[in-house]
């Protein structure tokens, strides 16, 4: 079983997202140790996973937290701020040569802040959600996130190997937009 399959076992949206935090962590480690084509390919997967993950949080989970937990407004503001910063850092990374020290250093910084961000979400946001929303609701949301994930194109278009070399699932911002469109579309179809 590949690690990518694991969140399929998740039952509700919180478990799904916690599982993705672990995948993100492992993918960062993979990009750091990989070289050449493999690094480009792993980085493309990381960009896609971050797009799916952060978008799902922005569209689905943060609104619940904003309304449902004490101090939710401020907690969510802090998380959104961190997510914006991460997105900007990703955009900067895509302009760099993947084999360069500049890329290594920027990737290490991004990894630290993304992992810290994930920790804050789990500690200050997710753990309060289960007490506030019933299990059915959380499971339905997980299904929505998974559908949107499938609707958003996962990998570079087949036959586009040169594009892979240039790190591509497309420009980072376009990937985020595409995932968001898919998620909004998927959400309305589902509901």
């Amino acid at each position: 079983m590949s690690v990518e399959d694991r969140p399929e076992h998740a039952e509700d949206v919180i478990e799904l997202l916690v599982g993705q935090h672990m995948l993100i962590r492992d993918l960062f480690a993979e990009v750091q140790t990989a070289t050449g084509e493999h690094r480009a390919e792993a980085f493309a997967r990381l960009v896609h996973l971050l797009a799916v993950h952060e978008t799902a949080e922005e569209e689905v989970v943060h609104p619940l937290a904003r309304r449902g937990i004490d101090g939710g407004e401020q907690v969510v503001e802090d998380r959104l701020h961190e997510e914006r910063e991460a997105k900007e850092a990703l955009v900067r990374l895509e302009g760099m040569d993947l084999g360069s020290e500049e890329f290594d250093a920027a990737l290490a910084l991004l990894r630290d802040s993304v992992l810290q961000h994930a920790h804050y979400e789990e500690a200050y946001e997710f753990r309060h959600l289960r007490g506030r929303y019933d299990q059915d609701r959380l499971e339905t949301l997980a299904a929505q996130v998974r559908m949107a994930e499938k609707a958003a194109p996962t990998h570079p278009h087949p036959g586009n190997e040169t594009a892979v070399k240039n790190l591509t699932v497309g420009p980072v911002l376009a990937v985020f937009d595409r995932v968001r469109d898919a998620m909004r579309g998927g959400g309305s179809q589902g509901g």
Partner: protein, 404 residues
């Protein structure tokens, strides 16, 4: 090369104090560090915590103001050492991830000590205990995949197998049966005293860790599993601490503690793969040499004895973290069904054991069984990391899922 810590000068005590900047150590990388570097950090943290707690107990039993003051001063440095060591653990790692690393320490450190221990009764104590922490590793690994959606092999990295040991359900013995006979302080080899102190300290830290982090979890099965295994760690502390001769004087105990700190920092310095961490072991060794010198002076003054009478003439071979897979598999094959009766070991479940089992389980499956059942239900099988073939005990081989 030989090293006699009594012959080396360390850092004078009045130059050991570190400021906040010096204490602010950079943690190891959670995903790229050598798993055995993390094991050395966890083991050494246990040793420093024991140094601190022992010193407090000594101070509470010590009428001399001068000695109390000296203990307080050395103890403050032990506290700083503990901060510098334990703060090497990265914040990214969850408590459960650290827990799995704690059990990896218990498995590979105890197995190494068992292999090196010359006294057969003491060796048996380590061989008995290691099969239990080996099973804890397996139970926590199943919990880890359920609550954190990650596999324990990311943590142990294939160095330690994660398969069932003596089932945790059977670890709950009557407290009387956890008390072993002590070694004889006049006859025991110096290495035996160091082994007992080391494993006792590691288990004590494990017990303290579980009793404090357990309630931070929200998942009921996680909270319950920490309660259960935390209580087994209480048994382990009882088991290992009773190996130490209570006839040792306070001065002698202090010397043994400081000598053991020298031994372990020296061992880890010799075996460390990360140069940055190696430098910390080296610095702390230089501090411990001075602690040891001061303790030896106290012993000469108050005990009227030469420390050389109780210490080894040179450090034993370095305590080494390395895979113990074949050794553990042999124990799994031969000692699985062992339990304790009084200070000895028996193969049969006796009346007092049965009574304890009835009382603690209350006719239900304990959390350590339920965590594996829940994993099976959810993922179709239990979580294992088996690198050396099928389980030596046919009863503990993977059962095919009922439904299929």
């Amino acid at each position: 090369m030989t090293f006699n810590p009594l012959e080396h000068r360390g850092i004078p005590l009045d130059r050991q104090l570190r400021n906040w900047r010096e204490l602010d150590v950079e943690p190891i990388d959670p995903d790229h560090a050598d798993p055995y570097t993390r094991c050395r950090i966890i083991a050494m943290n246990g040793i420093e915590v024991e140094a601190i707690l022992f010193s407090h107990q000594f101070a509470r039993n010590c009428p001399s103001m001068d000695v109390k003051r000296q203990l307080a001063e050395v103890r403050y440095m032990e506290q700083q050492q503990q901060r510098a060591v334990n703060w090497l653990l990265p914040g990214v790692s969850s408590a459960l991830e650290n827990t799995i690393a704690y059990e990896q320490v218990a498995v590979d450190l105890t197995a190494w000590v068992a292999r090196m221990e010359p006294d057969p009764y003491l060796k048996q104590a380590y061989e008995f205990g290691v099969l239990e922490d080996f099973d804890h590793l397996y139970r926590y690994a199943n919990l880890y995949e359920m609550v954190q959606h990650r596999k324990a092999e990311k943590i142990v990295d294939g160095l330690t197998e994660v398969i069932p040991g003596r089932p945790t359900r059977y670890h709950h013995r009557h407290p009387h049966d956890n008390v072993r006979e002590p070694y004889d302080r006049n006859a025991a080899a110096p290495i035996s005293k160091l082994h007992a102190l080391t494993i006792m300290a590691a288990e004590q830290q494990t017990m303290n860790y579980y009793m404090n982090v357990g309630p931070e979890y929200m998942e009921p099965i996680a909270r319950q599993l920490y309660q259960e295994i935390g209580l087994v760690e209480e048994e382990h502390v009882t088991h290992y601490e009773s190996l130490v001769d209570p006839g040792e004087t306070w001065w002698e105990r202090l010397v043994n503690h400081e000598y053991n700190e020298c031994y372990l920092y020296h061992s880890f310095m010799e075996t460390e793969s990360d140069p940055r961490i190696k430098a910390i072991w080296e610095l702390h060794l230089d501090m411990e040499l001075e602690h040891l010198r001061l303790a030896c002076d106290l012993m000469r003054e108050h005990d009227g004895r030469e420390p050389e009478q109780v210490l080894a003439p040179e450090l034993p071979p370095p305590v080494t973290f390395e895979p113990n897979k074949a050794y553990l598999r042999e124990l799994l094959d031969t000692q699985m069904d062992l339990t304790t009766l009084g200070a000895g070991y028996v193969w049969e479940a006796h009346e007092r054991f049965e009574r304890m089992q009835e009382g603690i389980h209350g006719g239900e499956a304990p959390p350590s069984d339920r965590v594996v059942d829940a994993h099976r239900e959810r993922f179709g099988s239990d979580y294992r990391l088996s690198t050396e073939g099928e389980h030596p005990d046919p009863r503990l081989r993977e059962q095919p899922s009922q439904e299929r």
